[in-house]
Symmetry: C2
Subunit: 415 residues, 2 copies
């Protein structure tokens, strides 16, 4: 295996520092702002929400990433989304970036921004500015600083989410190889049904790579990672996924779709998948992670649609919560996915513990061992496989169960 | 107004009889089968689920409706859906139709069938046949018989759903007019997100109308009634909407798109909308009916998409349950509906009691009277209006809130 898991998150790669603080934006009893800083300029790539209603920081970041300019810093706040805030929201973005630029002695156009929380209110600029000053003065390259940053951006999340890997690439000079690091953090628990992106996820790497190639790798990887999770079918206004690359690993720069590009893409896939699955499993109120694996579909796109349809179904989600092996719910969700298949040929399985229980075959729901099914449905991760018997394409989607707590959390979200 | 509401349901029109019985298919303590019978042959029109996985009775009914042959009878059971039952499911349909044909001395090809309940198990033919015999012997044209039939087809429904209207059309002979009746019943509470049809809905009329024109009217009306409701985003395997017309009103037969056709279509719209809204308000576990009215959209289809997106959103549904006027949720759902609009121009309102509270305008969430908002959100029907400021098209969608009880009902549906 060329990709190795390592400790840490956004500070796992060389030259990246992080900080966080309690700015008192909405939460009064915890840290609610985070900063990521690179000691040298970075290439940036990003994917953003496809929601027509985009939060101000999404518009701000898109402009910077599309410009191709180098970036140095990311500033994130939790509690208020800075969405549906009109022209004032954009002014607040500019003022925040200016404050960070001044504190860090960098251009405001090299500062990326992220916000998550309630839609509607304006972010309090005085608190944001004070937070930025405090964070600029306490940046650290320690792994603990990265972990603290991943905790500070949480909203209804119950666990922080970070992950890092390393891999070898040819050195920029000489014969040997150098070790390249890639790490990241994400947050997200509700309003999760990413389309081209996710809630908030920030990845950092010391890899030397062309910005266009990094964007290409990211856009491809997102399709099978963040875009394959769903908590509640609601595509957020704030979804943002950014990768910063500062080149400090001193690998031979990746400037074409070489073997090094393939290894980098695989590392990116590993980190994105792990962060995405953590988000699905930590869905608001969730007690189970649901995994739908579609195999032998006719096309990759159809495999994705089928898998996503199952993990997005309210009835499948309620059934997973109730540990009820009601496979008709899964079959129904496959049937309305908008994909052609033959219901009389496909097969459906419940998997786990190295075992496989057949739910459905030859057009009929099968008799199965209910005790065994209950045992497999009682595991933290509940896994279904649909064998479409049409081709060789496959895809996996991740979701979670629908619980009383999801209703409770979202029945009174603003207060 | 040319359309008048009257008492009754499927027996409101001349020549239609109904019966029901306790066949003990799944429920042991209530009636679970219903029959509708016309004393003379009927024209039939229908729309059916677009789910690729279709229940056996859906396939059976589609064949008969598409053949254009006259029909006489509908037999419905609750408790088992006869879906995902393969070739055996179709055999059971044929045997059920044969039993009804024998009991009523009609052709089996004039018997329509409907099933609703758990996906997977086979329907018990002995119980079904015994039920059919009992019902054939107890048919009645009373309004009470229609009401009892609408109760017998309920599953997780908490109220039975029936509705009827009458209207005047030119008489077949002479100068005057005759009174035409149209009534119907429906059931549905979960797995409700109709696409081209609804769960189960049966309409009867004594109107004399060409079958093709009736199908045309039905297909149009469905777009703005049953297709505009959502309980949980899950399009069922069994959705069926049928209209039977026996001509006993002795109106001048409708054979072209005349003024009479327009009046018939309006009556059909009235009954379908009322049954559809009753289904949305009786969504599994629901405590509120949610109504999203989109006005001034650029096209009718876009107005429908926007309205449906809002009532289908889990976050909007949880917010309605919590009486939390969190309009960012509505804005977010409009934004991912897949329709282009200008977020800076559109406006969003909460309506009720003849009042209107502005939630969002000029790109910003507005300050509003929270007490007033709580009062409007506390009504049984919670109404939102989105003014897209793009054109003149409008559409309304109906849904319900997401509650603990929805999760409870669907966490253990099979038992």
């Amino acid at each position: 295996m060329t990709i190795s898991k390592i400790q840490g998150g956004v500070t796992a790669a060389r030259g990246f520092q992080a900080a966080c603080c309690a700015a008192g934006i909405k939460y009064q009893d915890r840290r609610d702002m985070a900063m990521i800083f690179s000691t040298v300029p970075c290439k940036a790539a990003g994917t953003f929400t496809t929601n027509l209603v985009k939060a101000a920081p999404v518009v701000w970041d898109q402009t910077i990433v599309n410009s191709g300019n180098d970036v140095r810093c990311v500033v994130v706040n939790a509690g208020i989304a800075n969405a549906a805030t009109g022209a004032r929201g954009m002014e607040l973005c500019e003022a925040s970036a200016e404050a960070a630029g001044k504190a860090l002695m960098i251009s405001k156009d090299s500062v990326l921004l992220g916000s998550t929380g309630v839609i509607g209110p304006n972010i309090p600029l005085d608190k944001i500015s004070a937070g930025i000053s405090a964070m600029a003065a306490s940046l650290s390259e320690s792994l603990e600083a990265g972990t603290a940053a991943s905790e500070a951006i949480m909203t209804t999340d119950t666990i922080h989410k970070e992950c890092a890997v390393c891999f070898e690439l040819p050195a920029a000079e000489g014969e040997g190889t150098v070790t390249v690091h890639l790490g990241g953090m994400s947050k997200g628990s509700g309003m999760i049904h990413p389309n081209m992106s996710t809630m908030l996820a920030y990845l950092t790497t010391d890899c030397a790579i062309d910005a266009g190639l990094m964007q290409k790798a990211l856009s491809a990887v997102v399709q099978d990672t963040f875009n394959m999770i769903s908590v509640d079918g609601d595509t957020s206004t704030n979804d943002t996924l950014l990768v910063l690359a500062n080149g400090l690993a001193e690998n031979r720069p990746i400037t074409e779709e070489s073997e090094s590009f393939r290894i980098f893409s695989e590392a990116l896939f590993t980190v994105c998948r792990e962060l995405a699955v953590m988000m699905a499993g930590d869905g608001e109120g969730a007690t189970h992670l649901t995994e739908m694996h579609v195999i032998n579909a006719d096309t990759k796109e159809n495999a994705r649609k089928l898998a996503r349809s199952v993990v997005s179904s309210s009835l499948v989600k309620a059934m997973v919560y109730g540990k009820d092996a009601n496979c008709g719910r899964i079959l129904c969700a496959l049937g309305y996915a908008g994909v052609l298949f033959d219901p009389d040929r496909m097969e459906l399985y419940l998997e786990g513990d190295g075992e496989r229980l057949c739910f459905y075959r030859e057009g009929c729901v099968q008799a199965f061992d209910e005790d065994k099914a209950l045992q497999l449905m009682s595991q933290k991760a509940v896994r279904f496989t649909g064998d479409m018997k049409m081709g060789t394409a496959e895809a996996t989607a991740w979701g979670c169960d629908l619980t009383y707590d999801y209703v409770k959390i979202n029945g009174d979200y603003r207060s």
